[in-house]
């Protein structure tokens, strides 16, 4: 039923919207109620699994921004089903968990609003069949996770870390968007189900490299691959339920999911495979090594998440059928145990008040159920039989041993990664519960967490165990279809089992377990040097790089703004006029030509004299320092203009000009005593610079006028107006007829301008000019 995809989304977004009021009504119980929504969605998706296992896919499609090529299309296939079940299933448990963890929090309703919105976005992301819809949900996960990471927003550090996650993933998303657009342009469609069939077209395109790199920009930032890994451990600022959710099933998997999604269309080329494999393996190794030096429970888990993301990316890059099998198996296993471990860590934190693993030990007696859940999850993560994690790891080694030559590096990386990860798993999941009790050193007296907080981890831990024992429960219905989607073909026959006989992968597993356990026992050694090591590498780390870029941008913005927005009007005028001069010169030199004719015969001595007087007066007006001189000079210019109007047949203009000039002088006189004395404030050099610019501009205007009057000018319209003036408009003064009839709208606008100016002047004067005291002049 295609519409069930939409319904499952609506369940979750609907729950998000009602969350604040529900929590106000039912207080903490609200969370339990709200968890029904994701569970319902989970059920709805699960009910479709039969069809998916049969090799079908379910597509829901409605038109949206169709002129932009964006339809709201959702599709449930194997991969979407797997991810969708994780998102909703784990999501439901997280909602439940949060109702205990956030018990009594004043902003609980808002928390659920964000969390469920995030969940909805994530579900939409995995279900979308259109690149643009996928991007929409992708950005929604970014912004909702921003709200979640910064949930404790009174802390400056929370805000900073939330911003870091947002900017990093946001930057990647922009690259990804560009990549999507290129894909869309090359393929002519944004529908994933269509694009996936066009692998050859895309890979043959000259833009292939660009689109791969851009899409990887998005995927790598989201899935925290080196060098964008730094935001992920920082995202721990979020409340623990959020971390558990973001890091297990959702946010960080989005990038890997995207890569898997596009694998059929973009994959298979060396660029794709090598980039993924190399970046993935580096991320894996870096993450597990850094993880060894962490003391914070959540930080340890965060680094293992990073490692897993690297591993998944690497497997995708290797790209063989085995590798993809391994990847899917590992993805499923990881989601289960990582969510459980985070919730356990949250419970421990919640009950003891600390997450410092050097303090936490021996809690198993006080928190037995949590301890059991932690143990189950940690063992699954360690890849010990009979847990599902073991199957995942076996698959990886199996995939690895098929490699040869230089590619063996990836097997080594996987091996190293795995045994370090096991050490970390034990450190986080087992360490706090075993050993000697240390309760006095803890900030709070611990006791068992409430049922809402242990049900989730226990359930997930048990599922990890059950699936390990009975893998056929998911093999055909969920895992195989997912693999099929990633490989872009039919659903493969696969068989997951704990026991594959004595072979190289088993040997590697044994070494892994031995190495991991050994390292776990030595954990104290790493703690001893943890702080100095972290401090030492920090300046070279990616986070420091981020800070440098961030601060650099701010610095640049300040410097730029200081340079441009100086606050000095003359700088602005200078800039504007200079650019105008540049444009004009460009236009004239390139296109206008400098030639024009001049008729020297027409010069009439009286007019020449008039113009010369006006030029002198103009210069006096700008240079004089006494108001009276300036006013006389301005008046001379004004009256001179009026005379020019008279000479050239414009009596209306001349009279208007005379009256306006007179009134201007009168108005000037009213305020003249309020004005400061005219004085020169600029240096001579500035004046010369300004004079040069101003004269250049003036010269260009002269040139433009000369060019304009030079062009053979067609007076057709004026002549027609003159001809119509009396017969049709009943007026003999053509200028006036134009003003009140032909172009009366101009005049209407103009009287509105003067009316508004009058109101404005009155308003300004009325805003409390001080009455001047003391004798004036």
């Amino acid at each position: 039923m295609p519409v069930s995809l939409l319904i499952s989304l609506l369940f979750i977004f609907g729950a998000a919207l009602v969350a604040p009021s529900l929590c106000r009504l039912f207080k903490d119980k609200g969370g339990c109620l709200l968890s029904l929504a994701p569970f319902a969605a989970f059920g709805l998706l699960l009910s479709q699994s039969g069809a998916i296992a049969a090799g079908e896919s379910i597509r829901y499609h409605i038109e949206w921004f169709s002129s932009l090529g964006c339809a709201f299309s959702l599709r449930l296939d194997g991969l979407a089903l797997l991810m969708g079940l994780l998102v909703t299933g784990i999501g439901g448990l997280i909602v439940l968990y949060a109702s205990g963890y956030m018990h009594g929090h004043p902003r609980l309703g808002r928390f659920y609003l964000y969390l469920l919105s995030f969940m909805g976005a994530m579900l939409g992301l995995v279900l979308s069949d259109n690149l643009i819809v996928l991007f929409v949900f992708w950005e929604l996960t970014s912004i909702t996770s921003y709200l979640l990471i910064g949930f404790n927003h009174e802390e400056k550090i929370s805000r900073w870390k939330a911003l870091m996650a947002l900017l990093t993933t946001g930057l990647g998303a922009m690259a990804m968007l560009a990549g999507f657009l290129i894909i869309g342009q090359v393929s002519g469609s944004y529908e994933l189900s269509e694009i996936n069939g066009m692998g050859d077209l895309l890979q043959g395109s000259p833009f292939y490299t660009a689109m791969v790199l851009l899409v990887l920009g998005g995927a790598f930032t989201k899935s925290a691959q080196v060098p964008f890994h730094f935001w992920l451990p920082n995202a721990m600022a979020a409340p623990t339920p959020v971390s558990a959710y973001l890091h297990s099933a959702t946010m960080v998997k989005a990038g890997v999911f995207l890569l898997a999604r596009l694998n059929p269309s973009l994959g298979g080329m060396p660029l794709w495979e090598n980039t993924l494999a190399i970046f993935g393996s580096v991320t894996l190794l870096l993450a597990v090594v850094l993880g060894l030096f962490q003391k914070d429970l959540k930080a340890i888990l965060a680094y293992t998440t990073l490692g897993v993301l690297g591993l998944l990316t690497m497997l995708l890059g290797i790209g063989t059928e085995y590798a993809i099998k391994a990847m899917v198996g590992f993805l499923l296993g990881h989601a289960l145990y990582k969510a459980a471990l985070f919730m356990v860590a949250g419970s421990v934190d919640h009950e003891t008040g600390t997450r410092d693993v050097t303090l936490l030990r021996g809690l198993r007696r006080l928190m037995p159920i949590t301890a059991m859940a932690g143990g189950l999850a940690a063992l699954s993560m360690s890849g010990l039989p009979p847990f599902f994690g073991f199957i995942g790891k076996e698959l990886i080694y199996k995939a690895g041993v098929k490699l040869g030559g230089l590619e063996l590096y990836f097997l080594v990386a996987a091996f190293v990664g795995n045994f370090l990860m096991m050490a970390l798993a034990l450190k986080a999941g087992i360490g706090p519960f075993f050993g000697k009790e240390n309760n006095d050193a803890l900030p709070k007296k611990p006791h068992e967490a409430p049922v809402t907080m242990w049900i989730g981890p226990v359930l997930l831990g048990v599922i990890g165990l059950v699936l390990g024992l009975l893998p056929f429960l998911v093999t055909d219905s969920i895992v195989a279809p997912a693999i099929g989607s990633i490989l872009g073909g039919a659903i493969p026959e696969i068989k997951l089992a704990l026991w594959h006989g004595f072979n190289l992968p088993l040997l590697l597993s044994v070494f892994t377990v031995a190495g991991g356990f050994g390292l776990f026992m030595l954990r104290g050694k790493f703690w001893a040097v943890a702080d100095p090591v972290r401090a030492a590498i920090r300046p070279w780390g990616a986070e420091a790089m981020y800070e440098r870029i961030f601060n650099g941008t701010i610095w640049l913005s300040k410097a730029q703004t200081r340079c441009l927005q100086t606050g000095r009007l003359h700088d602005y005028v200078f800039m504007i006029v200079a650019v105008t001069v540049g444009f004009l010169i460009w236009a004239i030199v390139n296109y206008g030509g400098l030639q024009f004719e001049m008729d020297w015969a027409q010069f009439d001595p009286i007019k020449v004299g008039l113009v010369l007087i006006m030029i002198v007066a103009t210069i006096v007006a700008v240079t004089a320092s006494a108001y009276m001189t300036v006013l006389v000079a301005l008046g001379t210019v004004g009256f001179g203009v009026a005379l020019i109007f008279v000479y050239y047949g414009a009596p209306d203009l001349a009279i208007t000009q005379l009256l306006v000039e007179t009134l201007t002088v009168v108005l000037f006189m009213f305020v003249i005593l309020r004005l400061p004395p005219l004085k020169s404030m600029s240096s001579m050099a500035t004046k010369i610079r300004d004079a040069i610019l101003a004269s250049t501009f003036g010269g260009l205007m002269t040139l433009l006028v000369l060019k304009a009057v030079n062009i053979q000018f067609d007076h057709a319209i004026s002549e027609k107006l003159a001809a119509m003036s009396y017969p049709e408009a009943k007026g003999k003064n053509v200028v006036n007829v134009i003003l009140v009839d032909f172009r009366a709208l101009d005049t209407l606008g103009e009287i509105v301008v003067v009316a508004a100016a009058a109101l404005g002047i009155a308003a300004l004067v009325a805003t409390g000019f001080k009455k001047k005291k003391g004798a004036a002049s």
Partner: protein, 504 residues
Amino acid sequence: MSEYALLLPILIPLIGVVLLLLGARSLAVQRAGGVLFSSLTFAASLYLLFAVDQADYLVMQMGAWEAPFGISLVADRFSAVMVAVSSFMGAAVGIYALSEIDEARLKKFFFPLYLVLIFGVNGAFLTGDLFNLYVWFEVMLIASFVLMSMGGEKGELEGGLKYVCLNLLSSVMFLAGAGIIYGKTGTLNMADIGQQLMLAENADWALSSSMLLLVSFGLKAGMFPFFFWLPASYHTPPSAVSAVFAGLLTKVGVYALFRSYTLIFMPLFPEVQNILLWLAILTMVTGVLGAASHFDMRRILSFHIVSQIGYMVLGLAFMTPLALAAAIFYLVHHIIVKTNLFLVSGVVIRMKGSCDLAKVGGLCNSAPWLAALFFIPAFSLGGIPPLSGFWAKFALVKSGVEIHAWWAVTFALLVGVLTLYSMTKIWAEAFWKKQPEDVDTTPAKPVGPLVFMVAPIVVLSISTVVIGFFGEPLFEFSERAAAQLLDPQSYISAVLPQPAEVSP
């Protein structure tokens, strides 16, 4: 008769001006009239929008003088949608002003001047005559000058002085450019100028004068490197005034640029394409960096106007059907969102006495509804889907990718991230952070009930969301409008019915 639809968005505010001036004494009349006439204008503008969408072009030859002898009012879809959106803002901010504009300003004829502003803006969108456009610009400018400085506060006056001087410079360049163009073509009708340049064998001689208009319009639009007046002044007057300025004034400049290069100077476009492209890019970048450097809500928002103008001009510079449609969509989105953000800043000031981010905080807890109302426009501006801003940016970037304008696309996307940064800065500081203890900001005594300020914000926020979710009709409309812009010949034949009468 539907031609009268053209007239109403101009006539109604003007009648309002007259009546409010006559009813000067009563503040109640001023308030009621301001809201009534701005709302009526909005209704009329909707009528215009529908009429134009039916008829493709509406033309009214003022005074019944056939073009190009009189002044033509012309509306194509682009004009009509601009009128509709700006009148929408006019009505929304009119209501908002009820509770923000104090008595002193009302007595100084705030509302008549406000209506003059709407009158000027609508006139500028609807005129088909170059000199008449100049007049509309002046109407709009004088109204905005007065609205900006009428409070007489120091900041208003300082900013206002720069605003006035630089805009007068722009007006003079406009006048000079228009004069020279008249000198060369003998006509002022935009369609006629366009036709003459198209028919001319070589229209390059018009380039120099078109540069004057480019600078003039660029200055009004707030483009790099002419935008200085904007960040210097927009944050100084009351928020209602800033909001309506932010929404409308620069957009008139953008509109004029669009008109210039799709109609008046169409044949010159290839020569200026690169200039426009790089000016647009620089506008985006300098604007967004300016915003990043500031720490006051309204200053940040002011610089963002500049930055966003760059996107719109970018659409013009691309000059493909999709790019123009995207730019028109962008304009609509941006007008709504930017107005709304300034309105929100006004509520912040009302609550906290300041919108300096160093002095305010804790709004997320003390006024979560306001947080939600800020969140929508802010993250729409930041391009977060599925809000309106995302589609605007997406369409624009898509059009850039289609013509392989890689630099422009790169900068457009990077600027998007920085825009998001600025919005999160406001969000984190004003809403998330705790209210700083040691600042003394006492909110001024409120003028009217809060509901008049919040209601417009709610309406505008809903519009943003609706455009985001159901924006396809608007986008299709933008595409139709863009198609008209790319077909100046049909504009010309709509305005000049008998081209034979006009000598080439």
